[in-house]
Amino acid sequence: MRYLPLTSDDRTDMLAKIGVAAVDDLFANVPKGKLLKGPVDLPKAKGELEVERLMGAIAAENISASEVPFFVGAGAYKHHVPATVDHLIQRSEFLTSYTPYQPEIAQGTLQYLFEFQTQVAMLTGMEVANASMYDGSTGAAEAVLMAHRVTKRRKAVLAGNLHPHYRETIDTVSRMASDTILSLAPNPVDAGADLKAVAAAIDAETSCVVIQTPDVFGNLHDLTAIAKKAQEAGALLIAVVTEAVSLGAVTSPGEMGADIVVAEGQSIGVGLNFGGPYVGLFAAKQKYLRQMPGRLCGETVDAEGKRGFVLTLSTREQHIRREKATSNICTNSGLMCLAFTIHMSLLGEAGLRKLAAVNHANACDLADRLADVDDVEVLNRTFFNEFAIRVPGDAAKVVEKMAKKGVLAGVPASRLWPKDKALADVILVANTEVNTDDDRAAFVAALGASI
């Protein structure tokens, strides 16, 4: 077996040194009859070539985003990742290192985490950011728990246009922790009404309101008024962003008064990966720092006075605090954080703004083209790179028909709200820098032929 360096002579010698006759003597604590006699019922070892053939055949059963005109979004986006990013994250010293608990030999990881935290704070318009969460949705659930700790209240109000997977993730942990969640109904047509409903739902028990912008239908929200309203009631505003590239074009939640910002960072540096691994961005106001979940990297000096970085404020964390920790999380999304920070460093402010402008322009172009398609309506007044359209009939069937014509058109709303009949004819359509004029023409043609 190519990964195992010991020879059978080595094994014999080593057993002799240990002073046992057979390797099973080392498993003497396993209760009688519970030590397996033979191998489990799985196939035998395979060479590299055989594994490649096998897995290659399975991969070929899928249609990948680069093969076809591709417009699927709703929380994960197809963007171009520079070759430099994937090369660098595969460097052994990054790929095969552990959590930087020995900072003297982990300054590489620690310095990029410090840079990452700064980039995330700038991007979200906040004062501090942590070293990342598993993804945007789990970050959102952690943000709600954090708001409960800060306000000592245990009720969250979730905007109707929050991504349903985020709502479910928050709802699951809240239900288990016996906290109260008020989830409002989605409203793709009148996005402003959603925020009004959130404002009306705030009461003296409310610890936080959770609002996504661009929302799951793509609408942009000015959060200034709702932030003020929430804060006056002693609650926090948690802003959720599922498309990080939007922050290169749209006013950041921090500038609009958010207390906590959580975002899915996948769009910058990380591939689609069928939903994971991704990277959750988590930023907050400085005054809430001690209640933040997750790892934090901080600056310090070494014994010779040289600048260096360490994990810090770990007294919030589970390995010290155990059942009193701010969260049970003991990891971040290290390598995806690295991908994010490399891509962001390559882009810089100029590149990010241009990338965002191209995304927006491409989406506007598609919206304009759809205005000429009979019986199809673009529902949004505002959007960044994704919007909702209404089609005649069952949207899921339309998407399926378009897939047969070689266009992956978007996410039928019924995939996310299976029981909401009012949304059965809605499709979420995303458009990024990867989409060409030809792709958009193909979209329009396939849509016309599928309704």
Binding site: L4, F27, A177
Partner: protein, 524 residues
């Protein structure tokens, strides 16, 4: 001095002391000091060429971002050099022996990276029509089959994103099962003192009360202590097996029986599964739920602290509560999400995260399993245990073992009794290992052992590698006993940084770069 024909010296010449030769830059040859991107990047520079956007009517409302963001940009060669230099300040498995106990730092095969990057796996969207991702669902289902077979458990929740997330899923399944039986009053979770900190944190997160169970002098939990703690309000026990002292819990079957007789559930922390893959199955031992760290046992890269993946296998008693989404094989593969058609008895307790779990880790773990096969995985566990015992046997005359001279599983645990009166602490010993070119072992964990040193070599080490490691530790140990305190107290001397001031970092947290104030203002 000898010269070649052009007068170039070819011999080493007079050797001076390296420390006497300070450099102008502060660099030490290949070890190059690197500034922060904010100190040399420029907002107008970009390393990505993007075509001009079309001219369109903006749909941003009035929400276009007007203020400068401040993000610095780097041209591609600058970025390449920045991150390569940073990487050279890191120690990875590929650098050297990385005996971090409880973390299973085994070889990360690059075949796995290659497989995860096949466009059919890496470039597919979680919400594409299910008809276009049949291969992805097949892969998840195949990996699920492997995990169930290796653990002897009938069900698995694939979506948790890390070990602690898997724990959370497992404990949520237990809570859901109790509530379904009208047993919601059971609030107590028993956790041994030696457990990972995530165990009590997870239980507390969803409203359980944590009660400690002692470990006995032999390093294991005794069924008598568990029985003494069992009351009608006990929901579950969270037990790590093999445990964090590196020992297989020999009364585990009796403990499981006592737990079940009490109407409670048995959560097993699977962090140390690498010791027993193909040797013993948690399902045969009475376990109800166990998370599997794909990044430990099945070699997906640790990546400097993530991403991980933590599928949790479930017993018959918990199988009905597997959260959304899950894969079903009928006429083709389908994905059961919220609102999807459930079969009789299925009661998903909710959702752990957006989408379907860590697909990128699934592909890597499956590539590992296919490569090893049933025979190779068994051999890997045997080698991991053999290597740990070889280290234990080779050091036990110099370093003290807290639980006597008994075989360990895949990690050997020493305490600091042998360092008494030497002036050297576990931390100092660990830092001196850095100078010798090793990553330190896990230290001060488990908490129940004073000055703990937990050494897990994994199966990836050769005999020669182990022998040099043992010789090094013996040399260090004898040096400590001789009172050569300097070698330890000031260590590391040769790493990119000397010891870092963690107190200062926590007392005045600097968590982001900020623009230095102009000198004139700062002086006021």
């Amino acid at each position: 001095m000898s010269m070649n024909n052009q007068g170039r010296p070819t011999a080493a010449g007079e050797a001076g002391s390296a420390s006497a030769h300070r450099t102008f830059t502060g660099n030490k040859a290949l070890q190059i000091e690197e500034a922060l991107i904010f100190e040399f990047g420029r907002p107008e520079v970009t390393g990505v060429d993007i075509p001009e956007p079309k001219k369109v009517k903006s749909r941003l409302g009035k929400l276009d971002r007007k203020e400068p963001i401040g993000l610095p940009g780097l041209a591609e060669p600058e970025a390449m050099r920045h991150y390569v230099r940073l990487s050279s300040k890191n120690f990875g498995i590929d650098t050297g022996l990385f005996p971090l106990g409880s973390c299973t730092m085994k070889h990360n095969a690059r075949l796995n990276e290659k497989m995860a990057r096949l466009p059919g796996f890496g470039d597919i969207h979680p919400l594409q029509p299910v008809s276009t991702v049949q291969g992805a669902l097949q892969l998840i289902d195949t990996l699920a089959h492997y995990l169930k077979e290796l653990t002897g458990m009938p069900a698995v929740a694939m979506s948790p994103k890390a070990g602690a997330h898997g724990e959370l899923a497992g404990m949520m399944a237990i809570k859901a099962a109790l509530e379904a039986k009208g047993q919601g009053h059971r609030k107590v979770v028993l956790v041994p003192e030696s457990a990972h900190g995530t165990n009590p944190a997870t239980a507390a997160l969803i409203g359980f009360e944590v009660k400690a169970v002692p470990a006995q002098a032999d390093g294991t939990v005794h069924v008598a202590d568990v029985k003494a703690a069992l009351t009608p309000d006990v929901a579950a026990i969270m037990l790590t097996n093999p445990n964090t002292c590196g020992i297989f819990e020999k009364e585990i079957v009796e403990i499981a029986k006592a737990i079940h007789d009490n109407g409670s559930y048995f959560y097993c922390d699977g962090a140390n599964f690498n010791a027993i893959v193909g040797k013993a199955r948690p399902g045969d031992l009475g376990v109800d739920a166990m998370h599997i760290n794909l990044h430990k046992t099945f070699s997906t890269p640790h990546g400097g602290g993530g991403p991980g993946a933590g599928p949790v296998v479930l017993s018959e008693r918990l199988a009905a509560f597997v959260p959304y989404p899950f894969v079903r094989l009928g006429k083709g593969y389908s994905l059961v999400e919220e609102g999807g058609k459930l079969e009789k008895g299925e009661q998903p307790f909710g959702r752990m995260s957006a989408f379907h779990g860590q697909m990128g880790m699934f592909t890597r773990a499956l590539a590992y399993m296919l490569s090893h096969g049933a025979d190779g995985m068994k051999q890997a566990s045997e080698d991991a245990v053999l290597n740990a015992n070889y280290i234990r046997a080779s050091l036990s005359d110099l370093m003290s073992l807290p639980f006597g001279d008994q075989p360990c599983m895949h990690e050997a645990l020493f305490d600091d009794e042998w360092l008494k009166n030497t002036g050297v602490a576990t931390l100092d010993f660990a830092k001196a290992m850095i100078d010798e070119g090793y990553h330190p072992m896990t230290m001060y964990f488990p908490l129940v052992v004073h000055g703990a040193m937990l050494i897990e070599p994994t199966e990836s080490e050769s005999r020669a590698s182990l022998d040099l490691f043992i010789a090094t530790l013996r040399d260090l140990a004898m040096s400590a006993k001789r009172g050569e305190v300097d070698r330890f107290k000031g260590a590391p001397y040769h790493a990119p940084r000397r010891r870092l001031d963690e107190t200062r970092a926590a007392r005045t947290p600097i968590l982001r770069w900020t623009k230095p104030e102009p000198y004139a203002e700062a002086a006021e």
